[in-house]
């Protein structure tokens, strides 16, 4: 029985990673056919990070990331249809076609957005954790960023605040070795990215971002701990991006050999092989799963194409909200005064 449950969970890891891969391959193709505008940053190669970490936490936990956000959104349960429609700029998109590839939001799944200005989402992450603590909820926050994001001011302010107020945020640096064309050794003076946590006396560790199980276990571990004993963690997650930074990047800053070497670590290939070896999956089943997922991806393009453009008459509808006239304030009660969740 335990075995059966495990099997489903393990297969879901694979399914989710494969979904991201196939979805993005489709998106890439659509971009090349010029059906998509703006920027498109693919997550291909890094799927184990989003999938493993989301599997390692609870649905009520908030997640937030930068602009390379398709993987996190899909891992969190967003459907391919709304994801694809978003990059088509259609009103059926996850952000109604107003956000685009860099701004996937999914409130029902506690996916708090893709965010396009480097580092500026990290203070928001501390705010979610703050709110959870404020309300006495045992939610934690997963805040993802690239290796290029750790050098900007708001990164620092967020980590410092999280440490000071002991906020339950897992800061996950997806170290894919490059910030655009800049190798990670050329953007900071650190021997290892994990060292950055020491500047905040923050618990820090490295995880293998190509191993979905390792990621899941690490995050499960940390989130269990900080759910009851809130404090932030700094996690360097070593991974690799197989595509260019965005669709316009030919990737001249790395050799073909380097890329091929990293492709040997492919989180999907390796994990499916493991599952097969463990007898949890057959070759046949894998092919069937892949076909199913590819069909969904193809379907999402049709859905996006068939979806309506946002109505031009709605142009002014998303700049301000009408204040909710039915809002119910929560009067102050005496016991709150004595609470001190932020240790100030």
């Amino acid at each position: 029985m335990a075995k059966a449950v495990d099997k489903q969970a393990e297969l879901k890891l694979l399914y989710d990673m494969l979904s991201i891969r196939r979805f993005e391959e489709k998106a890439q193709q659509q971009y090349q056919m010029q059906k998509i505008g703006g920027f498109l940053h693919l997550y291909i190669g890094q799927e184990a990070v989003a999938v493993g970490s989301v599997a390692g936490c609870e649905h009520r936990d908030y997640i937030i990331t930068a602009y390379r956000d398709h993987g996190h959104a899909l891992a969190r349960g967003m459907g391919m249809n709304e994801a694809m429609a978003e990059i088509f700029g259609k009103s059926t998109g996850c952000s109604k076609g107003l956000g685009g590839s860099m701004h996937y939001f999914d409130k029902k799944n506690n996916m708090m957005g893709g965010h396009a200005i480097i580092g500026q989402h990290l203070p928001l992450a501390t705010g979610f954790a703050f709110a959870a603590r404020y309300r006495g909820e045992d939610r934690v926050v997963l805040a993802y960023m690239g290796d290029g994001a750790i050098n900007i001011g708001s990164f620092h302010e967020a980590l410092n605040l999280a440490g000071l107020y002991r906020l339950p945020v897992i800061f996950i640096c997806e170290n894919n070795q490059f910030s655009m064309g800049t190798a990670v050794s050329r953007s900071n003076p650190l021997k290892e990215i994990v060292n950055r946590g020491a500047g905040y006396d923050m618990k820090s560790l490295v995880m293998d971002g190509m191993d979905v199980r390792a990621v899941r276990e690490t995050i499960a571990d940390i989130s269990t701990k900080i759910r009851t004993n809130p404090e932030p963690y700094w996690v360097e997650c070593r991974t690799y991006r197989y595509r260019g930074h965005s669709m316009s990047d030919p990737g001249n800053y790395r050799t073909k050999e380097e890329l091929e070497k990293h492709k040997k670590d492919d989180p999907i290939t390796n994990f499916s092989a493991t599952l097969i070896k463990e007898g949890l999956l057959t070759d046949e089943e894998y092919k069937k799963m892949d076909a199913e997922i590819k069909a969904l991806a193809a379907e999402s393009v049709k859905f996006a194409e068939a979806s309506p453009e946002p109505d031009v008459s709605t142009l002014h509808d998303y700049t301000s909200v009408v204040t909710d006239p039915n809002y119910q304030p929560l009067p102050t009660t005496p016991e709150i005064k004595t609470q001190n969740p932020f240790h100030c």
Partner: protein, 332 residues
């Protein structure tokens, strides 16, 4: 109802206390707001009354705690974030102008940010080039932000309470030079819940010869200038306190212009792309034929702010400069 005379500072303090009391989702955060009771004592007594969960000291990390507030607002809290002055909000600028207003659009309407950023704004006295920025026009440039600037204790209280209850991000800018000024205000809660809707200008003085449009720090100067030209020249000057820059109460402005046909803008800030220039555009757009003379503005000089008292005085708007502008606009 018995009106009381209280200071602008006290009015703000009451507004904070009443909103904190009314709604647990409201909290106050900023540098020195708790144990120190506020650099300008606006939050005096609030830590004692509401405790360390609701009134929270921060490190010097404006972008960090502005963003923390925004994140908390996305999930339903209603933060009030104090900047020791809005000059320091410039280091948090991206959070304020990118994250705050855009969240609603970027998320396709899923998330909005009911948050107030508040603190003193604009020139004070001899604080030099870096500490006296009038930032209202910078924020007003960004769709999705409300920009509110009270000039009286009553407005300070009523507009702040309205700002806290607004579901949009509000830039609430106070006037340091007015913190100790006094005015009549309704009794505090539970006797009276003073909420002044955003976006309604106030005709602070009626007149028929010329309209002075002003707000915040220059309002008292404008009123004194109006008195002076009344005495000296028999001019009937109408003075309008905008109270909120955004939303802008164009209707009240245009009604006045239709009556007076002459306008002077008195603003605390820098002229270029400032509030005066926007008011001028909108007035001439809607009331071109009503204008009998060019609109004049009294602003900071086009200089970096010097420390020296004499130079500072020369650079800042003043009652005398407003009087001169009124006279010139009336052809005197």
């Amino acid at each position: 109802m018995q009106m009381r005379e209280i200071t602008y500072r006290q009015a703000l303090n009451e507004a904070l206390a009443e909103e904190l009391d009314r709604d647990q989702n409201v909290f106050l955060m900023g540098e020195e707001v708790a144990q120190y009771n506020g650099a300008y004592k606006i939050s005096q007594g609030l830590l004692d009354r509401f405790g360390p969960k609701r009134v929270i000291d921060t490190p010097i990390a404006e972008a960090g705690f502005a963003g923390l507030g925004l994140g908390a607002s996305m999930v339903g809290l209603r933060p009030i974030v104090e900047f020791m002055t809005f000059s320091f909000s410039l280091v948090a600028f991206d959070q304020l102008v990118n994250n705050a207003p855009n969240m609603l659009t970027m998320s396709g309407g899923q998330f909005h940010c009911p948050i107030v950023f508040r603190g003193p704004n604009g020139p004070a006295h001899q604080l030099g080039a870096t500490h006296m920025h009038a930032t209202e026009c910078l924020f007003a440039n960004f769709p999705g932000l409300r920009v509110v600037i009270p000039s009286t204790p009553r407005d300070a209280k009523g507009l702040l309470k309205a700002s806290v209850r607004d579901d949009n991000p509000v830039i609430f800018q106070e006037v340091e030079m007015l913190y100790s000024s006094k005015g009549l205000v309704e009794p505090p809660m539970p006797d009276f819940d003073l909420v002044i809707p955003l976006g309604k200008a106030n005709v602070s003085r009626e007149g028929t010869d010329l309209t002075v449009l002003s707000y915040g720090r220059t309002m008292p100067m404008a009123l004194r200038a109006a008195e002076e030209v009344a005495k000296a020249h028999g001019l009937h000057v109408e003075v309008i306190d905008l109270r909120s820059i955004k939303p802008l109460d164009l209707e009240t402005i245009l009604n006045s212009v239709a009556k007076t046909h002459r306008v002077v803008v008195a603003e605390q800030g820098r002229p270029f792309c400032g509030i005066g220039s926007e008011l001028t555009f909108q007035i001439q757009e809607h009331a071109f034929d009503e204008l009998d003379a060019p609109i004049a503005r009294v602003s900071m000089d086009e200089v970096c702010m010097p420390y020296s008292e004499v130079l500072e005085h020369a650079a800042l708007p003043s009652e005398e400069k407003i009087v001169a502008a009124i006279k010139a606009t009336c052809g005197l």
